[in-house]
């Protein structure tokens, strides 16, 4: 794999660099596969044939755009193969330098501090049961109506009695084992 990679990168840079084929190939609606013909008409448009056939100069001129198409098709194949190839050897090529790693840690930390400085911290929010009331001190100084206290006391006593009377008659096993085969 290590020997193959430089050759491959050389091929792709040679083909695509020379032919200025830098377009995003997936956006062109063309999906070449391993069965796509590199040369659309190998008999009539073969460069070797054209060189020997001096009578077809005019057809030579017409074949220039076709040649570009063929080269583009070849370029697409090369790039798609490079994208689809599983390159295990590439795993070693992304190691981060220690110095760069330190720079990034500081950068991320700085950015997070900046972001968090604009947010109201949850711990700074007002806590307590009267947090929804704008001035709780005013209400706390008012005397409470004795009837309200009696009503609340009676309600609590009834709740206590109800809780004490709760009974559970279990008829089946409370803990049921999962039926894992």
């Amino acid at each position: 794999m290590e020997y193959f990679r430089p050759i491959w990168s050389c091929m792709s840079s040679l083909f695509c660099g020379c032919l200025h084929c830098n377009d995003d190939l997936t956006n062109q609606g063309y999906d070449p596969s391993e069965r796509t013909h590199l040369l659309s008409d190998t008999v009539n448009n073969s460069p070797a044939l054209r060189r020997t056939n001096s009578e077809n100069i005019s057809s030579d001129c017409q074949s220039v755009p076709k040649k570009d198409d063929q080269q583009n098709a070849l370029c697409r194949l090369v790039q798609n193969t490079a994208i689809n190839m599983i390159d295990v050897g590439a795993m070693d090529s992304h190691n981060l330098e220690h110095q760069e790693c330190d720079v990034r840690i500081k950068l991320y930390s700085h950015r997070l501090q900046q972001q968090w400085s604009n947010i109201q911290s949850p711990s700074k929010r007002v806590k307590g049961i009267l947090k929804d009331i704008p001035k709780p001190d005013v209400y706390l100084t008012l005397s409470v109506n004795p009837e309200d206290i009696n009503q609340m006391t009676a309600a609590i006593e009834r709740v206590h009695r109800a809780l004490a009377n709760i009974k559970i008659d279990h008829k089946e096993a409370i803990v049921v084992p999962f039926r894992i085969p």
Binding site: I86, H94, L96, E100, Y108, Q115, S117, S121
Partner: protein, 131 residues
């Protein structure tokens, strides 16, 4: 008096440490960028240094990318079981989440943390993607 950012940082750290304690046997929660540069890390007193190396994280990133070409679809999580540890790595680009636990740690519990962490990752995602 702490600044708001320091308070926020402490709050988030304590939240992550709380998560660490909730899952029995979980040693480390680490959030990095795709090359392995750490954004945040909380850990228990356990020496599991191999997950600190950026190469370990970047290998996951590449392995995840390459595994997508095998024909089984795009990969999201890789769970690696070792004799003493398990490492769960999640692809949440531009962030990578790495959890390290004991070999008996409940892997399902670790995977369930993903949804709890999502809300807290947004700021970190912004911090990393700005570059």
């Amino acid at each position: 008096m702490d600044t708001p950012s320091l308070v926020m940082s402490k709050d988030i750290n304590s939240y992550f440490e709380g998560l660490l304690k909730k899952v029995h046997g979980l040693y480390i929660i680490q959030i990095t960028d795709r090359d392995g540069a750490p954004v945040m890390r909380v850990s228990q007193d356990k020496n599991v240094d191999f997950t600190l190396t950026p190469s370990f994280i970047s290998t996951f990133t590449t392995a995840s990318d390459q595994a997508g070409k095998l024909g089984l679809g795009r990969n999201k999580t890789i769970i690696s079981m070792y004799s003493n540890y398990q490492v769960v790595q999640m692809n949440k680009l531009p962030l990578i989440l790495t959890f390290v636990g004991s070999e008996n740690c409940n892997t399902g519990h670790i995977l369930a943390l993903e949804h709890q962490l999502d809300a807290y990752l947004e700021d970190m995602r912004l911090a990393v993607s700005e570059s």
